[in-house]
């Protein structure tokens, strides 16, 4: 299908909305996904001179590196268009400026200073399009003493304090295993805000600058812990898998290699049910385990008893049996389990699409369902520069001669 046809057949809430996106790594594409998956034309500016770090990250199809073969990049960029533009050349910057005039939104998540160097700061953009909305989303925000410090999720997670809540008592704090965890936090705040800004412009005619700091948005995910310090002077302690409000509450070993399940009993009744399900009804009357306070006091002994029972079973069997009895339990899913999860399958979380260089490939879909205007897979993650000609000739109306001339001058590298 030609690109023009592909774009024309797209539907969705944001059909007709155009975003020029200077994305880097994960935060940019995850934010743009919300728009592209709902029909917006998202033009991602890339360059072969300095390809996105995700394009040069493993895993690769057949373990063969290549800019279009990276699984990390291809997982997150469905529905997005790729414009290859060499911003080191004045003609490249000129094309970007022409595009700004036709775009509703300019989004960027580079280290602050990069877009200014190109003459694409907010004040510059306003001159090109007075009602432009600019969305910035760097690690520490575009002002303040850390503004120019390069950042990425694995560093932002500890700076925002998250590992204080992960690990065993007396042992070292641990990273969130899903690396770059903060990368999925900021895009949600940014997207809700950007849609509010689009609505504001519709009503008032005014654009704006929206500035996000991934550091700041991550703090919203540990806010009760921050307030506990502010209100009570208490720093968090690492408590492993325990909870002050539930016991048992933990991760238990199961049959198989590195297989685990979770079990959480919030009430005495749930504990008693669990005893019955384990075939140990006598434990329900055991004085060591009668109340939450008793169970917390004897938590190690309790966990050992449960582990002896779970070890003989698969996590799936534990989940099915306990959930049927009304006790919260689940498998501890790895990536293969996620892909096979019958609940996630009903949620359309994964989109399989044929990628031109790597064949059938699972792309990430959307994180929630809309009953009337669902997100849709339209096109696989783009090859680098796949949409350059479309953007230049169809959207900007460049003549074929001009396009070829610029191409020969290396503007689209």
């Amino acid at each position: 299908m030609s690109v023009a046809k592909d774009i024309a057949r797209r539907e969705g809430v944001f059909k007709g909305l155009t975003i020029l996106a200077f994305c880097w790594a994960v935060v940019g594409p995850l934010t743009m996904k919300f728009f592209a998956d709902h029909g917006a034309t998202v033009i991602r500016v890339e360059t072969t001179k300095r390809p996105c770090t995700m394009r040069t990250s493993a895993p690769y199809k057949d373990n063969k590196p290549g800019l279009n073969r990276g699984g990390y990049f291809n997982y997150f960029n469905a529905n997005i268009l790729s414009l290859s533009l060499n911003m080191q050349k004045p003609e490249g910057v000129e094309i970007a400026k022409r595009l700004v005039k036709t775009c509703d939104v300019v989004m960027e998540n580079y280290t602050p200073g990069v877009v200014e160097k190109w003459g694409l700061g907010y004040e510059d953009l306003k001159k090109l399009r007075p009602d432009v909305i600019m969305l910035r989303q760097s690690g520490y925000g575009s002002s303040g003493p850390y503004a120019n410090l390069p950042a990425f999720g694995m560093v932002l997670v500890p700076i925002a304090g998250l590992p204080n809540f992960i690990g065993w008592p007396g042992k070292e704090p641990l990273p969130v295993g899903v690396s770059a965890y903060t990368d999925c936090i900021s895009p949600r705040f940014a997207t809700a805000s950007l849609i509010a800004a689009l609505d504001y412009r519709r009503r008032t005619g005014k654009g704006q600058l929206l500035d996000f700091s991934q550091f700041e948005t991550a703090i919203y995910f540990i806010l009760p812990g921050v307030l506990d310090y502010v209100a009570n002077g208490r720093e968090p302690e690492r408590i492993g898998n325990a909870s002050p409000d539930a016991c048992p509450h933990g991760v238990y070993p199961c049959r198989g290699d590195d297989r685990w399940c979770t079990i959480a009993a919030a009430t005495d009744e749930e504990w008693q049910t669990l005893c019955g399900e384990m075939g140990r009804p006598e434990l329900a009357g055991d004085a060591r385990f009668k109340t939450l306070a008793d169970r917390k006091k004897n938590e190690d002994a309790l966990n050992e008893i449960i582990a002896r029972w779970t070890k003989e079973r698969t996590p799936e069997a534990v989940m099915r049996q306990l959930q049927a009895a009304g006790v919260a339990a689940g498998i501890v899913a790895n990536a293969a389990d996620n892909l096979a999860d019958p609940q996630l399958a009903t949620r359309n979380l994964y989109w399989e699409m044929d990628h031109p260089e790597t064949g059938p490939f699972t792309h990430l879909g959307q994180s929630f369902k809309l009953s009337r205007t669902p997100a849709r897979p339209y096109s696989p993650s783009p090859l680098l520069g796949e949409h350059t000609e479309y953007v230049c000739t169809e959207l900007l109306g460049m003549s074929d001669e001009e396009f070829v001339e610029l191409m020969q001058a290396g503007v689209f590298e």
Binding site: V13, R50, A58, P59, K61, D62, S143, P145, Y146, L149, F152, V155, P158, I159, A160, I166, L174, P175, G177, V178, S179, D183, C184, F189, A192, A196, A197, R202, Q208, D211, E216, Y220, V226, L227, V230, A231, N232, E235, N241, A242, A246, V251, Y252, Q323, V327, A328, G330, I331, N334, N338, R347, L349, L364, S367, F368, K369, L370, S371, R372, T373
Partner: protein
């Protein structure tokens, strides 16, 4: 920005963040609690450590900028009032078990029959349908089913949970996004819809490269504790390093970002006489984190670890900023409150709690907008705090309010 929009927020702690985001963007969000108050007000910790429904820190954290009323939506009179209120709102946000509102005659079908523009946002552990629909939940269970838990923890031990609930925050933030996308559609067409948010799905949405790594390489990304997973098979790469009185997170990574940080760090270490000849001779531009072997890694980790051990978190951050070194000292809560960057950006805000004659420090705003002040306008509501003004706005007379109160409806 959203001052023209109203949302009715029926959620408990599983959905607080959704309404909070809309409220911070300016919407008039009315928290509706059952008479006596939302049970999630009983969630600790509490301000002053004594259980008190007005002092739950979970409640305070995620309900500022919302007004609050009490209403028994299960009673016939309460239902009527709820429907009248819903007629003034663009959004109804709820986190009841699937089917609960339908059972009351207040589900999406019933609401949309009265107002086809209504947007119902539902947040549940697993979603409105599907085989897990009625499964019990707890954050550890949902995070386990999402994939995040499996990847967190030490390589020779069980997966470790993030002890502050996270799935409800992923879902709450997604619910705000879904609400706004639905609103964008409504503004163009007049049509509302049902936004169905699953905590499991929201938390599963971001698993970094775990899914493609399985699909393309048939490798399951496992937890790696203080080390970093998914990198070179030839050696482990440390991520958590002890520093003086704390920890610093640092990855020896490749690419341009890595080269910049590692050359700057080597130069910094050299200023203090701690850079070895090996480090000074390293070609950081061509360092490949996916193929590096143990010998090279040890020769990097030794002196770098020693350098970190000699410095405090504060010294490391202060030195890293001007040099452009990307490292992450693990901030304590006190560090966050005193952080130079957050303070320069005016991130913290003292918010009045007039009934206590005290203030509490909160994050001011998650976005800086050149068009609107998105800071906190007022703290989370007390139980039924805005009954008077909201019911008056609805045209219910004071005497009637009194009668409804006696009947236990509000």
């Amino acid at each position: 920005m959203l001052e023209h929009l109203r949302a009715l927020d029926l959620t408990d702690d599983q959905g607080f963040l959704a309404g909070k985001i809309l409220a911070d963007l300016g919407a008039d969000v009315i928290k509706i609690e059952p008479p006596g108050g939302d049970p999630s007000r009983a969630l600790g910790p509490f301000w002053g450590d004594k259980p008190d429904p007005e002092k739950s820190l979970w409640w305070l954290a995620y309900n500022s900028n919302k007004r609050g009323i009490t209403l028994d939506i299960e009673s016939p009179a309460g239902k009527e009032i709820f429907l009248e209120l819903a007629a003034t709102a663009a959004f109804v946000i709820e986190s009841f078990p699937p089917g609960y509102l339908d059972g009351l005659g207040l589900g999406y079908d019933a609401l949309s029959r009265r107002d086809k523009g209504i947007i119902l946002v539902s947040i549940t552990p697993y979603g409105q349908a599907g085989p897990y629909r009625d499964y019990k939940d707890s954050d550890i269970v949902v995070m386990g089913l999402s994939g995040t838990l499996y990847q967190t923890g030490e390589s020779d031990g069980p997966p470790v949970h993030i002890s502050l609930p996270q799935a409800c925050l992923h879902a709450g933030a997604d619910a705000a996004v879904g609400a706004m996308i639905a609103y964008y559609h409504r503004q163009a067409t007049g049509e509302g819809q049902h936004v169905d948010v699953s905590m499991q799905q929201s938390a599963a949405w971001f698993q970094a490269n775990a899914v493609p790594t399985w699909e393309l390489s048939h490798v399951i990304l496992k937890r790696a504790g203080a080390f970093r997973a998914g990198m070179s098979t030839g050696t482990a790469q440390r991520q958590v390093w002890p520093c003086r009185y704390g920890y610093v997170f640092f990855n020896v990574i490749g690419g341009r970002t890595g080269a910049k940080t590692l050359s700057a760090l080597t130069a910094w270490m050299d200023e203090e006489g701690l850079a070895t000849d090996f480090l000074l001779r390293m070609d950081w531009d061509n360092f490949d984190m996916f193929t590096v072997n143990k010998d090279v890694m040890d020769k990097i980790s030794g002196p770098v670890g020693e350098f970190f051990r000699r410095h405090t978190r504060k010294e490391l951050l202060k030195g890293a900023v001007p040099r452009g070194v990307s490292i992450g000292p693990l901030s304590s809560m006190a560090d966050l409150l005193g952080d130079e960057c957050l303070n320069a950006r005016d991130f913290w805000q003292e918010v009045d709690h007039p009934e206590l004659g005290k203030t509490l420090t909160y994050p001011r705003q998650f976005a800086r907008s050149s068009a609107a002040d998105l800071g906190i306008r007022f703290r989370a509501p007390l139980v039924g705090e805005h009954n008077g003004e909201v019911y008056k706005e609805l045209g219910i007379k004071a005497a009637e309010v009194k009668a409804l109160k006696q009947d236990g409806v509000i």
